[in-house]
């Protein structure tokens, strides 16, 4: 299963001196979580004093590999070297002591502690038996001054903005003397301005002799800031290349394992029978707003759009720009203001079940959190949300539930085929098929499909895409939300871009290209 070693990949231009040991060398790393193989024979080599981009699609195993490097996970197999020393299977404490610091995608900050307390936690400065608060705050100030990462040392972390919290995370690693800094998707939550600031800080660290590993799946970032690139796909390392001379196309090709442009052209099959806008919209959303959970800013900010029958509207955007909240509000899972019209019905005052009965179907973003009850059988999961339609008086109609299960298991090729098996025992692809089968087999007019192919294998992706097109061709209105731009482009008849909780552009498919969408997705451009 190990991919061919990429010995031929171009090495960094080097002097004639014997090469010093690299900052990081990971070899043949395997790591499984239950049935999921997150890493299989993954490799990574990072030279001292470079910014190294670790790229790949969602689920390619980048974060797992870096958590192994930072000591949070122990690898099942493989060897790890840091600055020439064998460190296979070390602990977080050892990694920190050796100068490896990791900034996680989900911040590892204690919200009820102050910035200074978070920075020193685990490596406290003491005066006698007592914490030296003044020294801690001074250390934060000094680091701030040196790096340009400004944070209020005495504030509670719960009061910080996301950008400030990230600065605290970086300061935390620097305070511990990190010479190798790993950042996991650091820009996912940042504004363009904050991103530029971050690049400056990272370049400064590199120029001072530090090594940076940047996990990302955004190609513009890779080109802009990195010196070298390692591409991962399905848990394995595909290739390693210097950034100079790399093109986004070449990187993308390595990431998805096929020619993107080709895939897109082949994927999009044109609209259904009805031209967009030709008929009355099936789903109309007007001025929909959802309050933000953490900040005062709205998570969804006066969003309006409509979808015609026989149309797929794709929503593109960097994750965390309000897509999740938008879908949850449409489905009735969170409170919202504004209007959601399905035909002539306003859905806003209605609950989840009433919306479903009016013809709203929903493939949720997270099948484990929302879409399935993992300890319920396949059969029970195939009626989840429609249990009120499978009753005989107060009791559930077991015969019909089983009948329904047999039919859908066959039609959607769900494996294993025994309807009494718990959903937990199934692979991710088969779990997602349960959700798809259930939501596409009910009587619906509008389909909300959020990340419908996340974490499923290639075969299942093709299958799910075909079902979505089928729904469109039957005259349903489909809202597709996906972090995978290729997927949005392969399926959508129109593409809307969300940025900062708003829809900043709606483009007809013909005008939507990775370049045009990218500009809107990063906030660089806003349509009128």
């Amino acid at each position: 299963m190990t991919p061919p070693r990429t010995n031929q990949t171009p090495r960094m231009p080097d002097s004639t001196l014997p090469a010093p040991s690299p900052a990081i060398r990971l070899r043949g790393i395997d790591k499984s979580f239950g049935a999921v193989r997150a890493n299989r024979g993954a490799e990574l080599e990072v030279v001292r004093g470079e910014i190294h981009a670790l790229v790949g699609e969602n689920g390619a195993g980048k974060s797992t590999l870096m958590r192994i490097l930072s000591g949070m996970y122990t690898p099942d197999a493989g060897s790890m070297e840091v600055e020439g020393r064998d460190v296979t299977g070390w602990s977080t404490a050892e990694a920190i002591a050796a100068g490896v610091g990791m900034v996680h995608q989900h911040f590892m900050l204690v919200p009820t502690l102050t910035v200074a307390e978070n920075v020193v936690l685990g490596s406290e400065i003491t005066r006698g038996l007592v914490l030296d608060r003044a020294a801690a705050e001074k250390a934060v100030h000094d680091l701030s001054a040196r790096t340009g990462l400004l944070v209020p040392a005495d504030r509670l972390v719960s009061e910080l903005s996301v950008g400030e919290a990230q600065r605290v995370e970086i300061l935390k690693t620097l305070y511990r003397g990190a010479r190798i800094l790993v950042l996991d998707e650091p820009t996912a939550v940042l504004s363009p301005f904050e991103v530029r600031e971050l690049w400056q800080v990272l370049r400064g660290l590199r120029d001072a002799g530090g090594t940076v590993v940047l996990i990302t799946h955004k190609l513009d970032e890779v080109i802009e800031v990195s010196d070298a690139i390692t591409v991962m796909r399905q848990g394995s390392t595909v290739t390693r290349m210097p950034t100079s001379g790399a093109t986004p196309q070449a990187i993308a090709r390595a990431m998805v394992g096929r020619d993107v442009a080709l895939a897109l052209d082949a994927g999009y099959t044109g609209g259904g029978a009805l031209a967009p806008g030709a008929t009355e919209a099936l789903l109309q959303v007007r001025d929909l707003s959802v309050a933000g959970r953490r900040s005062a800013a709205a998570a969804v900010d006066r969003v309006s759009f409509s979808i015609a029958p026989g149309e797929i509207l794709g929503i593109a955007g960097v994750e965390g720009n309000g897509q999740t909240e938008l879908v949850e509000a449409l489905a009735g899972l969170s409170a919202a203001s504004g209007a959601i019209l399905l035909g002539e019905h306003d859905l806003v005052p209605l609950g989840v079940r009433e919306r479903g009965d009016l013809g709203l179907s929903h493939i949720p973003e997270d099948r484990h959190e929302r879409g399935l009850v993992l300890d319920y059988s396949i059969a029970d999961n195939l009626v989840l949300g429609q249990q009120h339609r499978f009753t005989k008086g107060a009791t559930l109609d077991r015969a019909r539930i089983l009948d329904n299960a047999r039919r859908l298991i066959a039609a959607y090729d769900i494996r294993p085929t025994d309807p009494s098996v718990a959903a937990r025992a199934l692979s991710g692809g088969n779990q997602q098929k349960i959700v798809i089968a259930r939501e596409m087999s009910r009587d619906f007019r509008v389909l909300l499909a959020a990340q419908p192919t996340r974490g499923v294998d290639v075969g299942a992706i093709e299958f799910i895409h075909a079902r979505l097109r089928e729904a469109r061709d039957q005259g349903k209105a489909v809202l597709l939300v996906s972090a995978d731009l290729a997927e949005v482009l392969a399926l959508s008849d129109r593409v809307a871009v969300m940025y900062g909780g708003r829809i900043v552009a709606v483009l007809p498919r013909a005008e939507a290209t990775p370049d045009t969408l990218g500009a809107y997705m990063t906030g660089a451009e806003r349509a009128a």
Binding site: V352, G356, H362, G371, V373, L384, G385, Q387, A394, L396
Partner: protein, 358 residues
């Protein structure tokens, strides 16, 4: 479809459900042996006496049945809560409240009403008494997110103090801690039908306990409401996605749980003493937790676990001549700790073993 093999997921689930209680029992036996030996007795003799004094004669067995009856009710109450993802620690006060309200009804009913006629009234009264006490933490949880563990614990003290106040100040028979006897509605003891049971407290309320277990099983695993309640317990966010009103299920589940515990009050008030007495519920709530835990929150498991814990309680009295009866208090606690710790541990070990076998 292929036959269910030893490696099927269903078999694995059964293994994971049944093994921890067995491990726990084994551990309890070991601890019991140690305690018996510290008292200078022979474990074999003590356990033999324990069995003889419980399942070995009709009176002892009757006492076991009587104690098990109450524990079935509190066990079912706790088990229902656990199925909904809620920890009801208030079964003791719910049980007491159910008994108290039933006793009050019994004081109000005129004498001579046939038992069958007033039985539904008593059932309603007991369920109402316990249900109201259960609904309070339910509503506080659903409305304010107040953690039901703390609220039910605190409510135990509040309700028991209130009942003590009412009993000792308003309705007690002078110089006692109990109320006057019911005027009508008292139910027969098993001894009235079968002579060997004579003197034991076992009574026909045991039928109501069995009926409740069957009913709860039907509700949990056959009805739509049960389907939704279990979904809330397993994955509240998925239940919400499936159109279930989670706060509403939360408070209903706790109210229902309280009502079931309240029914247990009939065992004492209607079947045994025919009056309410302070402290009759003491300990039954915590033991209900043990019963639900060992019974894996399944009605059949709960009935069996209730018999086990009732046997231990009664057995303590039987062996008191050899070792202090308090030994069984220790054993009960050991069983609870062992089950609580062995459930995750056994699952981990089983899954590890299965993985390496693949």
């Amino acid at each position: 479809m292929s036959a269910v093999t030893a490696k099927s997921p269903r078999w694995a689930a059964i293994e994971e459900a049944v093994l921890p209680p067995l491990v726990a029992l084994l551990l309890a036996m070991v601890v019991g042996d140690v305690l018996i030996l510290t008292f200078g007795q022979s474990p074999g003799a003590v356990f033999k006496l324990l069995l003889e004094g419980t399942w070995g004669n009709a009176y002892g067995f009757g006492q076991v049945l009587y104690k098990a009856t109450t524990l079935v009710f509190t066990g079912l109450a706790v088990g229902l809560g656990l199925r909904a993802g809620l920890f009801n620690i208030g079964a003791e006060s719910q049980l007491a409240a159910g008994g108290f309200v039933a006793a009050m009804v019994g004081l109000l009913l005129p004498a001579g009403v046939p038992a069958l006629l007033c039985l539904p009234i008593f059932i309603l009264a007991a369920a109402l008494g316990g249900g109201v006490v259960g609904a309070v933490p339910g509503v506080l949880k659903a409305r304010f997110g107040a953690h039901e563990v703390i609220v039910t614990i605190m409510l135990n003290f509040i309700v028991l103090a209130l009942l003590n106040y009412l009993t000792s100040n308003k309705v007690h028979v002078p110089d006692t801690l109990h109320t006057a006897e019911l005027k009508s509605g008292a139910l027969p003891r098993l001894g009235d039908f079968a002579e060997p049971f004579h003197g034991s407290a076992a009574n026909v309320v045991i039928l109501l306990a069995i009926l409740s277990a069957v009913g709860l099983g039907w509700f949990l695993f056959r009805t739509r409401s049960g389907f939704e309640l279990r979904a809330v317990g397993l994955q509240p966010k998925s239940a919400e996605y499936a159109g279930v009103n989670v706060p509403s299920v939360t408070w209903r589940a706790l109210a229902m749980s309280g009502a079931i515990a309240g029914l247990g009050g009939l065992n004492y008030v209607l079947g045994y003493k025919h009056y309410y007495e302070e402290g009759f519920a003491t300990g039954a709530g915590f033991l209900g937790i043990a019963v639900a835990l060992v019974g894996r929150s399944h009605p059949i498991g709960i009935v069996l676990a209730a018999l086990l814990f009732a046997t231990l309680s009664q057995g303590g009295l039987a062996v008191n001549a050899l070792v202090p009866k308090q030994m069984v208090d220790v054993l009960q606690a050991v069983v609870i700790i062992a089950v609580a710790t062995s459930v995750p541990e056994v699952r981990r070990l089983l899954r590890g073993a299965r993985r390496s076998a693949e």
